[in-house]
């Protein structure tokens, strides 16, 4: 049996029943990673020994957790005790955290096995993983193309069968967009659903940790484990966490579904639009009422996001000063040491965003930019709230186009436009899930985004599960694809 092809839920059941050893599963992942990661480059740090010893320990134990034997990759901006965490940046290149993020503690408490840390755009700033300070990750579907970003390493690892599932972080689309580009499922939970303790801060009012996996079911299982109150994150909601697997396959509600009108689809890739319209027909065919909606405020959602996120980033990244941890550049005097450390440690996109945020917050411009963005953010939030009085879910394409080629987007604004469909949910704090909904003509996967009201992940998973089963996305590619040919036949 090829263990790497098992879904997470299946594998966990086999390990818990004692039919398969966690050690065997980890070994087959490690040998597959060795074979394909030199091409995909999903991992920044592999935790082979740590994973094997965890697996042996789990195998020796009678009581096994809810994720026993689940092989999970972790985005490299989520801290792991004793395991290097770089955030894709030179400034943290040799940083070994002395503590675990809450999500890591919770995964390990249920016997998930962490296999490694995945590549990402530096400080999660980017949509292609090309902004990693170390190397770009490649899309397993087509190695000439990007896996999306910023959680591109996590998405590529899951699609390339280098992990059963992964954690990513989503600030403006960084879980959903790479999930769409790599033909997998990715959830950005409601803001406050999952603790951010131990997530390296980018834009604190937007950042959320979310799972990437090969099915809605696997995402639901992981979310059940990582969600919930944490006293170490004051923005984490103290609300009960349902078992998201409970009744997942049983969605009986007669819901109304919001569907974008033609105005909102102008300018997007025609194949993305066509596949989206097919989903609309399918939803109507299932007996749901489809309600056309346009969101006029989305026109300024991106500019709003690109003021708020860099502003928060410029403040959050002030902590990298070379004093207590991370890179320190040589200098005779302290003030020079700060400047040299930051200049050598940060890449161009990070500098651009720090400067943009510094500008938006600086004296004389604050009202014209930051305060205005805060008002736009309220308008975007209110528009979604009104929409959710009329409908239960809103469907959009996840991305305006399928995965693009490495090096294709040199202009920063062209890259920022990737987030067109995803930022509104981030600004409003509502949950969004991306599921695969078809293939473009050249064989690249396309994603469908489903949004719901805050803290309604339970219904969101059920509805996404139903769509997933009806779309019947045939994933015939898991592994690695070099010019249309499957390579992992061994």
């Amino acid at each position: 049996m090829k263990y790497i092809e098992l879904g997470l839920r299946e594998a966990v059941d086999l390990v818990r029943n004692g039919q398969v050893k966690a050690t065997e599963i980890v070994e087959s992942y490690l040998s597959h990673i060795e074979a394909v990661d030199p091409e995909i480059k999903a991992y920044l740090t592999l935790a082979a020994e740590r994973a094997l010893s965890r697996a042996r320990e789990i195998d020796a134990r009678k009581d096994k957790g809810r994720l026993a034997g689940a092989v999970v990759a972790i985005k490299d901006n989520i801290v792991t005790r004793g395991l290097r965490t770089t955030c894709g940046s030179r400034i943290l290149q040799n940083f070994v955290p002395p503590y675990d993020a809450t999500v890591v503690e919770r995964l390990e408490a249920e016997d998930a096995i962490i296999i490694g840390k995945t590549n990402m755009d530096e400080f999660a700033m980017g949509s292609s993983t090309e902004n990693s300070a170390f190397f770009p990750t490649r899309n397993p579907w087509d190695l000439e193309r990007v896996p999306g970003g910023s959680s591109g390493g996590s998405a590529a690892a899951v699609a390339g069968l280098e992990a059963m599932a992964a954690l990513g972080s989503d600030t403006g689309g960084s879980v959903r967009q790479p999930a769409a580009f790599c033909g997998i499922v990715g959830l950005k939970p409601t803001y406050g659903r999952v603790s951010r303790y131990g997530l390296v801060a980018f834009a604190s009012s937007l950042d959320q940790i979310g799972p990437l996996a090969r099915s809605v079911e696997d995402c639901a299982l992981i979310t059940s484990v990582i969600a919930g109150f944490d006293r170490r994150d004051s923005t984490c909601a103290d609300r009960p966490v349902p078992d998201y697997l409970d009744g997942l396959d049983n969605f009986q509600e007669k819901v109304r579904v919001g569907f974008l009108g033609e105005n909102s689809l102008k300018g997007i890739n025609p194949e993305v639009a066509a596949s989206y319209l097919r989903v609309g027909e399918l939803v109507a065919g299932l007996g749901f009422e489809v309600v056309r909606m346009d969101f006029p405020s989305w026109e300024v959602a991106l500019p709003c996001y690109y003021i708020i996120a860099p502003s928060e980033a410029s403040s959050n990244l002030a902590r990298y000063d070379g004093v207590r941890y991370g890179l320190r550049a040589e200098a005779v005097e302290l003030a020079d040491m700060y400047v040299r450390t930051r200049t050598q440690g940060f890449g161009s996109e990070v500098k651009r965003r720090i400067l943009l945020g510094t500008f938006a917050l600086s004296s004389g411009y604050y009202d014209a930019y930051y305060a205005r963005a805060a008002r736009a953010r309220q308008a975007i939030t209110a528009e979604l709230q009104v929409a959710f009085r009329r409908v239960d879910f809103i469907l959009t394409p996840t991305t305006p186009e399928p995965a693009f080629k490495l090096g294709e987007k040199q202009d920063p604004i062209a890259m920022y436009l990737q987030d067109y469909f995803t930022v509104a949910a981030s600004l409003a704090g509502v949950p969004g899930i991306s599921i695969p909904c078809g293939l473009a003509r050249d064989g690249l996967p396309l994603g469908l985004q489903v949004l719901s009201e805050p803290f309604a992940e339970n219904r969101l998973f059920k509805f996404a599960f139903l769509l997933e089963n009806n779309i019947k996305f045939k994933n015939n590619m898991y592994g690695i694809n070099t010019r249309g040919r499957r390579k992992n036949e061994n």
């Binding site: 103290d238 300024v300 003021i307 207590r324 941890y325 005779v332 040491m337 161009s348 400067l355 308008a379």
Partner: protein, 93 residues
């Protein structure tokens, strides 16, 4: 809109490389004009800065262990005894 990059980079404790000095002014100008589209949206006066609509609760004061000193010091780029060491703060006359 033109921006004073020298001033901004001083505020942000950054220096620009030769290449960034060439590319950044044009890029920043374009980005700032692009985000400036915001002024076209008629919005209300209400502002949103955070996401936390649920009530925050106060914790009891409780003594809990913090990170051990040796682990904190182990991360420091330079140390002396039980202290993190930094370059001198004041310039010599």
């Amino acid at each position: 809109m033109k921006v004073d990059l020298e001033h901004l980079s001083r505020l942000a404790n950054l220096e620009l490389t030769e290449e960034e000095r060439k590319l950044l002014p044009g890029q920043m100008e374009k980005i700032i004009d692009w985000v400036g589209q915001l002024s076209s949206l008629a919005t209300g006066e209400e502002e949103k800065y955070h996401q936390v609509d649920f009530s925050l609760r106060l914790e009891e004061d409780e003594v809990q262990p913090s990170l051990p000193q040796d682990e904190v010091l182990a991360m420091a780029p330079e140390k002396q005894g039980d202290f993190v060491k930094v370059p001198r703060v004041f310039r010599e006359k």
